[in-house]
């Protein structure tokens, strides 16, 4: 069996928080990510969903090498991407790239599009001017921009166009994995579909694997093959998107999906039909989750385990 493209194994990220007291008094530990494991296959789109502060962005930063894991391993084609033996920024850059949420903050206002795209190529040893301009032209065409627009600066573009530039920059080094951090949530609703379709086209054309971080479940539903639901730094449920959206088992997942605005329900005087199919839990097992409680991020979570309740569909349950 070949190694998976990306494998995250029991990832923990804990932050020491200084309490402001003298000599470290009041120092606490923030448990941001507590034992996340997943695999990303070639050509797949895996979405991580969850509320703000659930650790989904921290997980992404660890994969990008911007946040060192406290524990656990991240492997790319079986090779370590974190900890000892990890590659430098340069090798990692050719494996994993990121598309950022805010297209206004993600482009340097003082660099033209051409500079933004040419500098990484030059950094990675491509110095021939003709090759650089060829690759930029191809990449701009890929994201639906014209070569003439290369000499312009970010402020001359709309939000949607900026996001296209951000996508072009993420793809210019031809990575296999692209982390999409809320790729459309900062865009106008009218532009979102265009960018989503562009991302899906590029995925097919270039054989990309996406790891999407999102709380916009309608985008997740549209793009992903598999969904990972995170709560308080742990995966509470994971499975193929059809399973997650039609028969979510975990109460947190159910609440997330029920929160998707439903125009038909609004017409129905706000009454929302129960649309989930019931899921049978293994006998004698229950969730370790109380609706409406905020997680204590300063304590390690109580022990629990992921149990497979259907093919590839796992849900977190309390230990017996």
């Amino acid at each position: 069996m070949t190694a998976p493209l990306l494998q995250v194994d029991n990832l923990h990220v804990h932050f020491p928080i200084s309490g402001g007291g003298l000599l470290g008094a009041g120092r606490r530990t923030l448990y941001a990510v507590n034992g996340i494991s997943f695999e990303l296959a070639k050509g797949e789109c895996l979405s991580i969903v969850g509320e703000s502060g659930c650790g989904k962005s921290t997980t992404a930063l660890s994969i990008l090498g911007l946040q060192a894991p406290s524990e656990g391993a991240i492997r790319y084609r079986g090779l370590p991407l974190s900890g000892p033996g990890a590659p430098g920024r340069m090798q990692r850059a050719r494996a994993v790239q990121m598309v950022f949420q805010d297209p206004y903050a993600s482009l340097n206002p003082r660099q033209s599009v051409k500079t933004s795209l040419a500098a990484p190529l030059r950094l990675h040893g491509i110095t021939a001017k003709s090759e650089i301009s060829d690759r930029i032209e191809v990449m701009l065409a890929n994201v639906g921009l014209t070569p003439e627009q290369a000499s312009r600066y970010p402020h001359e573009f709309s939000g949607g166009q900026r996001q296209r530039i951000g996508i072009a920059r993420a793809l210019i080094l031809e990575p296999e994995i692209v982390v999409l951090d809320e790729p459309v949530s900062a865009l106008d609703v009218s532009i979102r579909a265009q960018i989503i379709n562009l991302l899906l086209d590029l995925q097919e054309k270039l054989g990309l694997s996406y790891l999407m971080i999102s709380h916009d479940l309608s985008v997740v539903e549209h793009m992903s093959n598999r969904v990972l639901v995170m709560f308080a730094g742990q995966v509470v449920e994971e499975g193929p998107w059809q399973q997650i959206f039609t028969s979510p088992a975990h109460p947190y997942t159910r609440r997330l999906i029920a929160a998707i605005p439903d125009p038909y329900a609004a017409m129905n005087r706000g009454e929302r039909p129960e649309r989930f199919t019931d899921v049978a839990l293994p006998a004698g097992r229950d969730f370790l989750f109380e609706v409406g409680t905020a997680p204590d991020v300063f304590a390690a979570p109580a022990p629990s385990e992921l149990i497979e309740i259907a093919v590839d569909h796992r849900v977190r349950l309390a230990l017996t």
């Binding site: 340069m90 903050a105 340097n108 500098a119 990484p120």
Partner: protein, 273 residues
Amino acid sequence: MRLGFNFWLGAALTALVIFAGLLAPWIAPFDPVLDADLMNSELPPDATFWFGTDAQGRDVYSRILYGAQISLTVGIVSQVINSLIGITLGMTAGYWGGWWDDLVNGLTNVMLAIPSLIFALAVMAVLGPGLPSLLIALGLTNWSWTCRIARSSTLSLKSQGYVQAAQTLGYGDLRIMFSQILPNMMGPILVMATLGMGSAVLSEAALSFLGLGIQPPFPSWGSMLTDARQLIQLAPWVAIFPGLAIFLSVLGFNLLGDGLRDSLDPHMRTRNP
């Protein structure tokens, strides 16, 4: 970018000082040092000696033109040194954080706690009087505010997507600082440097007044004031014109700095329309 009246007034005064300094050898009617003539001493302003003459009979107007060279050199060189120190320390502290940040912060706080003129006096006492040591002394004194601004700008720019993007694209730390962060924080740094030029000119005048700066007979506005001290009742013009030169140039630098700040900072502009 809209620039107000203050900016243009400041720019005009600054330009006046720059032209005076650069063109002094051609437009000054007399030599500032050699054309001393005791027969002409302490003459009030007239058609020959526009700003009058001093105790040695030297033309005050010519000496002020040459003095502009000193003030400009001091203002520009000391601010370049200040900015280099402040940017280097502040940007690396903000970017790397950790113990280096703590160290730089501590150093900045110590520098802010010492009155800058006292510190400059101490440096001058070690290095001895003269223009080079004056430049070093003033260059070492006023970097703390620049450092603070560089640090806080770096902290806010570091979380911008394009800096994170540069990290994921494989850029090294120094390359990120110079290509991504520095160009985007030059606005406030430039404003600080312009405002700092004014205070550097004042400090130069103060140090020269105390006899530690430019040594006689070469003219600087501060040392001219020192010489004028005994004559202030007999020949007030010997004190008034160098004082006016200091006042107008410092006013010019400050208005220029304020104008730049207002035009670079949209929040300031809406608050003070």
